[in-house]
Symmetry: C3
Subunit: 463 residues, 3 copies
């Protein structure tokens, strides 16, 4: 008996030592602490992405002419609002619920917290007033709810918030390309369709654990799923809508229509860069372990270096090609660098990030004239910076990262075909019904007079 008692006691000593040392260094982060870190990562990184809506608004405000500036401001604020509402009503559910390797999720309206979360909040709220058996029952309920909540690793609505701001980003991209000649309400109808259906369906293929994810297609934060998707929708729109009046001359000449406020465009680009740390960093989807936060650090660094590479490459390219450094290309170089690294910002050799971003920057300089050749009028250069660089970045996961080039190509093509043709159809229907193009006279005077009724700079310009 003595021996048994000894044995048990020794077992305990070992247990305590293990437990004690555990809590010092080796232990996994306790579940509830990890839950807070994970949830907070979604919130704070989502918030940074939310601010990118402001970045797009400023970038586009700076790159349109003064007579269309109020309109672009309005469109950006409205599209951010509508994207969130549409994603709340149905988009999130289509993207994330019951995809199971398939092509689309389920249609559950009005996404909400888990029952366990609501129980935890409500029972904790009432336990103070309860007594006796009722109190004991509540306490048991709280413990159970708490366990379930923490077991989910992050709060349900923090994830919704983080995913919602990505939809808004895709919608923002469309806005810039089609500026200066599209009517506001038809544009906003497209935003609703994009946010509620087009974006969620294609994103469900990868992030919803749909068929492309099963194949091994990899897109860390959305070079294809967000940026190319926005770009394809914009391209379809640009084709159906046509170029701005006077942009392309009869003899093939391209008439520059310079942006009215370049410091605003610079501000917008800096805000996008700032917000992109949330875009890529938050896409680690967890922060509750040393591994996760270390991975996030690496993502931050690659994100910054790729953007820097994009800026410098675009500057050198324009210096060589045009003999001057074009600021607007430098700005789009930053964005292209950021888009390029977005599919695989977890690279362990940071020098490759500089290269990936740099190529992105050069692609912008190369493809802007190409679009003009096809008379595709992209007011802010969103198609080069988001669509072209997005394709390049997604391929890079195959070239430099852990992905396969062929699978990456399949994903690029599948999503491209789907988004482009569905968008084309939606734009076509809109053109055939409500009409999407502003009246010719209104385009001359500027959409601010016809659509918004307030001029952006009434004291600075004659129009």
């Amino acid at each position: 008996m003595k021996r048994k008692s000894y044995f048990l006691t020794l077992l305990l000593i070992i247990g305590i030592l293990v437990l004690g040392s555990n809590t010092e260094v080796h232990a996994a982060v306790p579940g509830e602490t990890a839950f807070i870190f994970n949830t907070f990562s979604f919130l704070i990184h989502g918030l940074l992405v939310m601010f990118m809506a402001c970045g797009f608004a400023m970038l586009e405000s700076g790159l349109v002419r003064a007579k269309n500036t109020s309109t672009i401001c309005l469109k950006n604020m409205a599209l951010y609002s509508l994207a969130g509402l549409a994603f709340y009503v149905v988009g999130y559910s289509i993207l994330y619920t019951d995809v199971n390797g398939g092509w689309i999720g389920s249609f559950n309206l009005f996404y909400n917290s888990s029952q366990a979360e609501l129980d935890l909040i409500n029972m904790t709220g009432s336990v103070g007033d309860a007594t006796g058996a009722a109190k004991a029952k509540l306490e048991k309920g709280i413990a159970e709810a708490s366990s379930k909540v923490i077991g989910a690793n992050y709060s349900v609505m923090s994830d919704w918030f983080f995913q919602m701001v990505f939809v808004a980003t895709a919608a923002s991209i469309v806005s810039g390309t089609l500026a200066e000649r599209i009517k506001v309400w038809p544009f906003l109808i497209f935003v609703v369709v994009l946010s509620a259906f087009i974006y969620p369906i294609q994103a469900s293929w990868v992030w919803g654990a749909g068929w492309l994810s099963t194949m091994g297609f990899s897109d860390f934060a959305g070079s294809t799923l967000v940026h190319s998707t926005g770009g394809w929708a914009a391209l379809a729109g640009a084709i159906i809508l046509g170029a701005r009046k006077g942009k392309y001359g009869e003899n093939g000449e391209v008439n520059p229509m310079p942006g009215s406020n370049l410091p605003l465009a610079t501000l917008g680009t800096f805000i996008l860069w700032f917000g992109w740390f949330g875009f890529n960093g938050g896409s680690q989807l967890a922060m509750g372990s040393a591994l996760d936060v270390t991975a996030i650090s690496i993502v931050y660094v690659n994100t910054n270096l790729a953007a820097a590479g994009g800026v410098i490459a675009a500057m050198i390219a324009t210096q060589l090609v045009y003999g001057k450094i074009d600021l607007t290309y430098a700005l789009n170089g930053a964005i292209a660098g950021l888009v390029s690294i977005t599919a695989g910002p977890d690279l362990q050799n940071h020098l490759i990030s500089v290269l990936i971003g740099g190529v992105g920057g050069i692609l912008v300089v190369v493809s802007v004239p190409l679009l003009d050749k096809f008379k595709i009028d992209d007011v802010v250069g969103a198609i080069p910076a988001h669509l072209i660089a997005g394709i390049w970045g997604t391929l890079c996961v195959g070239i430099f990262g852990s992905g396969s080039i062929s699978t990456q190509l399949i994903g690029i093509v599948a999503i491209g075909v789907f988004v482009f043709f569905v968008s084309l159809i939606v734009w076509f229907i809109l053109r055939s019904t409500v009409g999407i193009r502003a009246e010719e006279a209104d385009e001359d005077t500027g959409l601010d007079s016809s659509e918004v009724g307030v001029r952006a700079y009434p004291e600075f310009t004659s129009k």
Copy 2:
């Protein structure tokens, strides 16, 4: 004896199992970890609210005429500075110290960290150099101080920082309404009185655990305490100060005086929206548990959806009423949506948030002409967006939330009467002594010439 030994050992096994499982899932977050989360929530969310001062500066810069823009920039930077200083010298103490269900706190000048915090920092700083008994004494002191510090749940000055930025918000609201005709220094004197006394006294009634809080009045993040308070002070000022020269014609006509830079106003609104997640999210006042961070997630989502509702409702309303979508109403719709949800952003049915924000947006469209009817000249529309929407939002806690409508009404009226009449008196005294209105000639040339001496856009405008 054997049995006793067995019994104890078994007890230990159970204890260890409980402890072990505890640290895995069920355990509360350890005290010091929770302390860090709570403190950091105050800091990061407070920082977001701090940035709202920039948002107000940009919004107001965009909505005034160019000749008064430098002045409004200066006023916003100065008011943020002074609000902080006044709240440091005495405001915080009046709001939070020894209110005990009463009407006002105590007057302790120069708020500071707790003694335990200073001990913890200072003793830890000296323990490295100490030896022997002195060292042992210091280590004991550190342990005691640490215990006390952690027991307070968050660091003292993080709370001060978070509360300080709320005062600044209230002061920012006043600035916009009274723009383009008020002299700078008298305005700043009012800001000091507001920040040091008016705001802290009324806020002590609720957040300082004063009489209204005892009654059950509920205002999560300050629809009434911050936004209506700012609005009432602005209304009193607008009445005493009078309208801008030429705003209201002799035959009742209202002459529009359009803002000079709408992209700036849009930027300001986006920044406010961005900062509002700190305003409402941080008002959970803790982040050190799964429950708290889940609640914060819900708050973020409702905040976003209410703002979106405000934007879309205001757009539809202006389209129906005026035949165009007015950008400035859309911007104020966002703000009104945000103000409306601020009193109760913890709703578990997010659809109601959209509704609450949407009604806020419509209230703005309805009440701007109403103010004009009474010849109350509110340059940026702060009274509709903050005062009216603030009242609506506070009522919503009674209608949709856990509050009672009658108690909410009592709070709205009590704070309204107090802030409005005290402000009226202060404005009246200022008018009678130093004078608050710029000279008529200075109003014509613009306050930038008379008060600030530098023009906002010397190369863009003739004035």
Copy 3:
């Protein structure tokens, strides 16, 4: 034997009680949790400092004339990019590796994560596919790597990110002083030299644990190391480059060349203020304990109060000296207040912060005319706000803080002499080779035409 068993069992009970109570309140934050907090503090605070690059861009855009605005936007985006690339290639290593009380670190190119971090990520990535012995080996490797990673207290690249944004800040300061007449590429060459060598070498003396740190020189977040360094480099550049054409008349008159967009300058200042909480708060270099996060709270509060003191002091000073409140001085007052507190923002008497910042604000008002007397043309007032206030702030650590005035002086002089003369030589070489000054005709038409090829405001101004 019974007694022995009892004794052991009692020991265990005590052990468990200690352990249990530990995890409740007294225990240090577990290692991995602290690791996450520390790493995240570097990331989020670094991100705030990153946004200061945007603040400088806006401040400088607002304070130059319209014809040079695109150029200053380009320079700011390019310098932030290049500073990061140069610091990645070699700067960080010179600053932090193997300084050992000396004058310079080692030259290891292309900074990267620790091997343990890469092992942790890679092994965790492969462990899912492994089985049997291979799996066991991987799991052992993961445990070892995890231990090493956590033992380093923060992730390697999070620290790189935080330090990198400080280099960019120093480079931003130079940009403003030399605006409106320097050629873009030569300026960017200087930025590379500054970021790769000059800044890292002098910073290694203190933050790299070099000789000045051994002496006891103290500079919490870089009043001298960042701000004065930027200021000295700017001063050397201003001397070699000369004043703008027409700035100083033949009879000693100083011709004002007012900034073109003061709301942008105000925006920039607010963004700098916002980002400065990251600058000073993150410089606590840890957030994984109650002590650290409490210290960060104190730093936030002092940072805010010093800036407020700077604004109000500069306003009062300009009102007294010029009879008007000069907005540009108020903005520079905020910056000077922030720079002044940066060397010692951990003061426990917050009133002294107000004083320190206030003196900083007055120093700006005093030293701007002084520079003009010496015909040193500092376009945005960066030398007063960063160099002069930086010296003052560094001295304050000796006057009010724990430092010695004489040691602080030695550091100020040593760094000043090094940075000023090395910069002078670099500027001189650049002038003698590639040339740094824009052509006279280009300075007249504006650098936007000659260097950047796109005008900032093509519709607002005649140029």
